[in-house]
């Protein structure tokens, strides 16, 4: 089976663009990625498009209406917050299977007026939010964090430090939604949404798009490997049955299973990683994933953040882009934007936030419901 390479990848600056359409945002990212690869839409053999909120609206085809209707197969996919990673992986799988030599991937989302709390549940009877506890994301991830606190004594302050770090990182990322330092007191004293997550510990709803051009090894060699990035693992899992998962979505087990398979597939371990972009939809979530991805021993995630090991310059920098907390979280775009971040470091093109000498990086997303997508990427040039 062919190895798969990222030949071009880019993202638009995340922000709020109510005057633009979803296909326009996606098209802009697609053209950036094609330009980055030095290729043209007419060379693409298939197009994998990830979008969640307009999943029934043929977003991929509408993007081609903006940039060139060449008649290639378009695969629209939706998989909660793992949507972008799923589109990326499907393109990877098709190339690996020998179906195509060149594929385009786009992840795009327009969050519109979706508030911090997201959509509410419908159904018959009476609304149960605030009556049978909370099913809203801030509380769901607060409760997941409290499970860690219960086991290991993790504190509100330790969770808050994740947000301080990621906001600091985003001051060096011009494509992030925010470039604002947020000291610990500011994070901890911000409006409490669902203890222990304050407003600054919740991801930012933004519009955004990211795109990639993937190639088979044969095609990559033909085009030149200079800036190519190898996809050395692609894994997708769903949530296996675990205790309490009817009332507490389990983001841990599916991440652990995906990570194990990804490390095996790539032939690397967590100690070989130079940087990680993981799914910090809430500050509490980042702490859980340190252990889920094997970045530290069980119970040591609090210590890892306390000692600055996951900050730029630390042992294993996490979410140098600013993460979902400050770069922003346009659901369907997130899984491709994460790959853009890691690829940019592997190419040595990340500017002020560059992780020096980065050779191997990992991306991770979680779609609640649940889906976990992990990719491991490696630099090709020596």
């Amino acid at each position: 089976m062919s190895d798969v390479y990222v030949m071009g990848i880019d993202m638009i600056k995340f922000g709020r663009f109510p005057e633009r359409t979803v296909p326009q945002l996606g098209a802009e990212a697609a053209l950036l990625a094609l330009d980055d690869a030095g290729l043209d839409i007419r060379q693409m053999e298939a197009f994998y498009c990830g979008n969640l909120l307009q999943a029934s609206a043929m977003v991929g085809q509408r993007i081609l209406q903006e940039i060139g209707q060449t008649g290639i197969p378009v695969i629209n996919c939706a998989n909660a917050c793992a949507t972008g990673a799923t589109a990326f992986r499907e393109a990877w799988a098709a190339i690996r299977a020998g179906l195509y030599d060149l594929c385009l991937v786009v992840g795009v989302e327009q969050m519109g007026k979706a508030g911090l709390l997201g959509g509410g549940g419908g159904g018959r009877g009476i609304p149960t939010e605030g009556l049978l506890g909370s099913g809203l994301m801030p509380a769901v991830f607060a409760e997941a964090g409290m499970e860690h606190a219960r086991k290991y004594g993790t504190t509100f302050e330790q969770f808050a430090k994740v947000s301080v770090k990621n906001h600091h990182h985003s001051t060096m990322n011009p494509k992030a939604m925010y470039q604002i330092e947020t000291p610990l007191e500011t994070v901890m004293n911000a409006e409490m949404i669902a203890y222990p997550n304050t407003k600054l510990m919740c991801s930012v709803n933004v519009d955004g798009a990211a795109a990639a051009v993937l190639a088979s090894e044969r095609k990559a060699r033909e085009l030149g490997m200079g800036r190519a990035v190898r996809v050395s693992a692609s894994v997708l899992t769903s949530d296996p049955y675990t205790d309490r998962d009817l009332v507490m979505p389990d983001v841990n087990t599916c991440t652990r299973q995906a990570a194990k398979r990804a490390y095996e597939m790539a032939g690397v371990g967590p100690e070989d990683l130079d940087l990680v972009e993981l799914h910090d939809c809430f500050a509490t979530a980042e702490i859980l994933h340190y252990e889920n991805l094997g970045l530290c021993a069980e119970g040591e995630a609090g210590k890892l953040i306390d000692e600055g090991e996951t900050a730029l310059g630390g042992r294993i920098p996490v979410n140098v882009s600013g993460g979902l907390l400050s770069k922003g979280h346009p659901l369907g775009a997130t899984g491709v934007a994460n790959v853009y971040e890691v690829a940019t470091h592997l190419r040595g093109e990340a500017g002020r936030r560059q992780v020096e000498g980065a050779r191997v990086g990992l991306t991770h997303v979680i779609g609640l419901g649940s889906a976990c997508g992990i990719h491991i990427l490696e630099r090709v040039a020596s």
Binding site: I126, E129, G130, E191, M192, I193, Y241, D243, L246
Partner: protein, 143 residues
Amino acid sequence: MTEAAQARKPLPIRPFLKIPDDGEPHLEGQKCRSCGEIFLGERIACAKCGSREGFEPVRLSNRGTLYVYSIVHRSFPGVEVPYVSAVVDLEGGGTLKGNLIDVEPDPDKIQMGMPVEVVFRVAPRKDAEGNEYLTWYFRPRSD
């Protein structure tokens, strides 16, 4: 409210809350005949073991312990905040989510692992037809 609605007893907020004519309201679980896992709400087959052997209805305990919680300060318009969203493990099996009441919404006043009981009350909300609903809450217990 229609007269018919007034005459009716409250409806269960979830189908697994049973309200017998001649007994106390209680929660009913579905116990897998193959692996014994207890679910709230009916399923076609077991999510844990995949067995299609079916389920035994079992009456769940009103006693449990607080597993985890969050104190919710922002919610949809009309939802009274702050309140405590809690996940409770019931004695003998079954895990349930609900509001923890009769405690201060303060992390220093709430201990994970603390004993709680399930109590049933009429919910402070009605549906469009004026029907009342019976719901559950958790509160600390001392025994």
